[in-house]
């Protein structure tokens, strides 16, 4: 990833700027049936010749192109990726093999259940594992990602209230919530009422009580919350919501702190989603595919997306759910991710999952403790699986959170999540995960401490960062003002 200063050539030309007419990267199976004339079949004007603009490359060209592009990327396999709220833990290699086992990969979603028993057994077992970790009664594996899980969950909330005569109109969402929470509510036609968190970063029962009435369908909350703090009053808050007939929705984004430590089902949670790409190690893939199963308590199971896997008379079957909210996705969801998550859970077992959460929390507290002297820490006390520091002290030298993030790249790290949660100005949200060793944590903290020193002694070194990445800071304002969203021939 070396850069020659001042170089303005593209790092790697676009696919469309390479190759030569007539070059091919693939050979078709031999034609063993007569050729046909598309014009004759579809009529003139409905058929089409070769797609204009598609690349013409050899296999070598394609392999080099993507290999070069890959080297411009940072991933968990390259180094520590402490992106808060994203749980960038190690993605075990066996799981990649497992998802590619030919019988799994070749399986068609509409092939009969009687030839799919191994897959259905796996999905059923994964559901039982998620139920055990969460304390929920049933789990659907169908949602494609966390946000789709939220939508499924909130539609279940709506279905429940509708069955009781009134879908209600409002949902309470703390100001520390992920942006997907209010966006998912809006899709369900719920008005979002934002609840301010208290000075300690926690949601206060009185604040919930003040907004809770019989027009509130649910409270959506993340626990630990996005400040990395456990919502200590969760039981009391759930009681307040339940007393007015509301439901509690739990955003499982931060479940990695709680496996074998506390179960949402015991906290008064009625509906929740999991992020298999966070807690259960399925790779993030540069931004998907994820997988967002949804768990519910028994009385809500009748509304789950359809179908659901059941075991009957020794056979796994796909059953329709009669009062279902419908389908969230074609077929059965991201089964390739279910296979990976299942393999992960089995590799660790009950003890290993609990140990993972405990080490994740230890790692976050260790990092926070070592950063305390050099960075402002907005909330007192211990944290769960992630910690927040801010740029408050560095601001005195004209150095901001974004600069610190960019400078971390020069030290070989992916930056933490920045400027989130919104309630903490200049937040750097650090989630080390349990995958990182003491040496790696120390090296990361040393880099953070070095940057804090640089901010005092040589602030321009930090504000001008990054200096060693393939490209320098990119002009995001220009990109949004005059969007170029595709390549076009010159």
């Amino acid at each position: 990833m070396n850069v020659k200063p001042g170089a303005t050539q593209p790092l790697e030309p676009l696919l469309f700027e390479k190759g030569s007419p007539g070059r091919v990267g693939w050979s078709l199976p031999p034609a063993d049936v007569p050729d046909v004339d598309p014009d004759a079949i579809f009529g003139k004007g409905a058929a089409r010749g070769p797609v204009e603009g598609l690349p013409e490359l050899s296999e070598v060209d394609v392999v080099r192109h993507y290999t070069r592009l890959s080297r411009l990327n940072y991933g968990v396999d390259v180094g520590m990726y402490p992106l808060g709220s994203c749980t960038m833990k190690y993605n075990p290699k066996l799981n990649e093999w497992a998802a590619r086992i030919p019988a799994f990969a070749r399986s068609h979603p509409l092939q009969p259940p009687e030839i799919s028993q191994g897959l259905l057994a796996l999905m059923h077992a994964l559901e039982r594992i998620l139920c055990e970790v969460s304390g929920m009664a049933r789990v659907t594996l169908q949602p494609a990602a966390g946000a789709q899980g939220e939508l499924a969950g909130m539609l279940i909330v709506r279905a429940h209230h509708k069955a009781h005569g009134n879908p209600r109109h409002k949902v309470l969402v703390p100001d520390t919530a992920h942006g997907t929470n209010p966006a998912s509510c809006a899709l369900c036609d719920y008005e979002v009422v934002t609840i301010k968190s208290g000075p300690t970063g926690l949601l206060e029962p009185a604040a919930v009580a003040a907004h809770m009435d019989e027009d509130v369908a649910a409270l959506m909350l993340t626990n630990p919350n996005t400040c990395g703090l456990f919502e200590t009053h969760i039981r009391e808050i759930a009681d307040i919501v339940h007393a007015k007939g509301g439901l509690v929705y739990y955003d499982g984004a931060n479940l990695n702190a709680l496996m074998g430590v506390a179960k949402p089902g015991h906290m008064g949670v009625d509906v929740m989603h999991f992020n298999l790409h966070k807690t259960f190690s399925t790779p993030h893939g540069g931004g998907g595919p994820g997988s967002g199963p949804v768990g519910v308590v028994e009385p809500l199971a009748r509304y789950l997306p359809t179908p659901i896997v059941n075991l009957r008379d020794g056979q796994y079957v796909l059953d329709d759910v009669p009062e279902s909210i419908g389908k969230m996705k074609s077929f059965h969801g991201h089964v390739g991710m279910h296979i990976r998550a299942y393999a992960y859970a089995l590799a660790l077992g009950g003890k290993g999952l609990a140990q993972s959460s405990r080490y994740a929390v230890l790692n976050a507290n260790y990092v926070l403790e070592r950063l305390r002297g050099a960075y402002h820490v907005p909330y007192a006390g211990r944290v769960m699986h992630e910690c927040i520091v801010t740029d408050k002290r560095q601001n005195d030298h004209g150095v901001k959170t974004l600069d610190i993030a960019k400078r971390l790249m020069d030290y070989g790290y992916h930056p933490p999540t920045v400027y989130f949660p919104l309630v903490v100005p200049g937040a750097l949200m650090i989630e080390p995960t349990e995958s990182e060793s003491l040496e790696t944590l120390d090296a990361f903290v040393d880099a953070m401490l070095a940057i804090a020193r640089e901010a005092e002694e040589d602030p321009e070194l930090v504000t001008g960062a990054p200096h060693t990445t393939p490209v320098a800071r990119l002009d995001e304002v220009e990109a949004a003002r005059k969007p170029i969203l595709r390549w076009t021939p010159a």
Partner: protein, 448 residues
Amino acid sequence: MPHRYLPHTPDDLRRMLAAVHASDIDALFEAIPEDLRRRAHLDLPDGMGEHALKAHLQDLASAVRVPEPEGMFLGGGAYNHFQPGVVDFVISRSEFYTSYTPYQPEVSQGTLQAIFEYQTLICQLTGMEVSNASLYDGASGLAEALLLARRVKKRPKMLLARSIHPDYRAVARTYLSGSDAEIVEVPFTKAGTIDRAALEKALDTGVAAVAVQSPNVFGCVEDLRAIGEMAHQAGALLVAACTEPISYGVLRDPGTLGADVALGDGQSLGLPPSYGGPWFGFFATRQAFVRQLPGRLVGQSHDANGRRGYVLTLATREQHIRREKATSNICTNQSLCALAGAAFLATLGKTGFAELARQNLAKAEYAKRVIRDEAGLAFPFSAPTFNEFVVEVKDDPERVLGRLREEGLLGGIPLGPWYPELERAILVCVTEMNPKSAIDRLARGLKA
């Protein structure tokens, strides 16, 4: 003994606990009420070593008895195509698959450029002006297209062809169930395509979008141009879904035919069926609607030294900025799957993609001929098809398909569960993976 995924040694733990002034790890969880912690034990087996786990997964796989690809004739939304080795090589580069959303462009140019190229490739296939970075799947893409139409047109009614894949329609209904939008289904004719007379009647000034699929769930090609003209005359958008994007290699693109949104599942473009996913949903529209697009977008920019680079852009549409006012609640795209699709298209290229489409068409036409001429079976629909078609059998379809299974063939999808009036019909898909010999066996088996 430490677990292979967890690097903490007993000595590390001692040092770390001392640094955080805790006597043990439990002390870190004091914020959690005691009664919650007491009940949190996981009743799950102990962890498995890699060799035992591998054997267990292989055992499960042996309880999946899927035939060789030669004998697979199932389509209906998931297609049996060859995956060039290059595709799996590319998505197995862990710099791609172990990265996350490219929020920090300086260390994410690989993902960003690959998605910029993907957006370009989708525009080329669909003939549209702008593509997003991908959605979860085609079905949620249809829902998002209807929501886009709702925002653009501010009209409540959505006309959906009943010849759209039932899962697409089901997901659209789920997504729109919380809104005031009204979905009206338009029947199909004996051609196997949308009933244009019925469409004409249903089109009024309350309609925001007319949605069809081409090829549709019966494999039939819809007349997008004519349907688009009708929709536009009523002031509605034409949403053109597609079951099978390989068809773009031989069929006129929806952009040219007047579509306002083109969408579908990208599974055929290099991804294995995997019992339903993960794949990606492609979603493309006109420049005029760019600020109404759901999902991520990558745009070109340059760095402080004038070097070309790529960034996520127009994020003010998205949930992390706009929250409840966002164009969609979607957060991620299906980045790695979209990357597979791009690598697939780059590998096949201009000639390969056209030849692949042509061969699919030729195989399906051959299959239709032997099923008609030699098996003596009839087709209920008359419209032209691409690589799948509906055939009417003379026995109970489940019985016919069961017999075929005994010969190692998955012969098709019975349509009765989706369309009760088609209780004798089977949806058959033929691709480059099915040699002539297997097609001949299928024809004989369907007849029996």
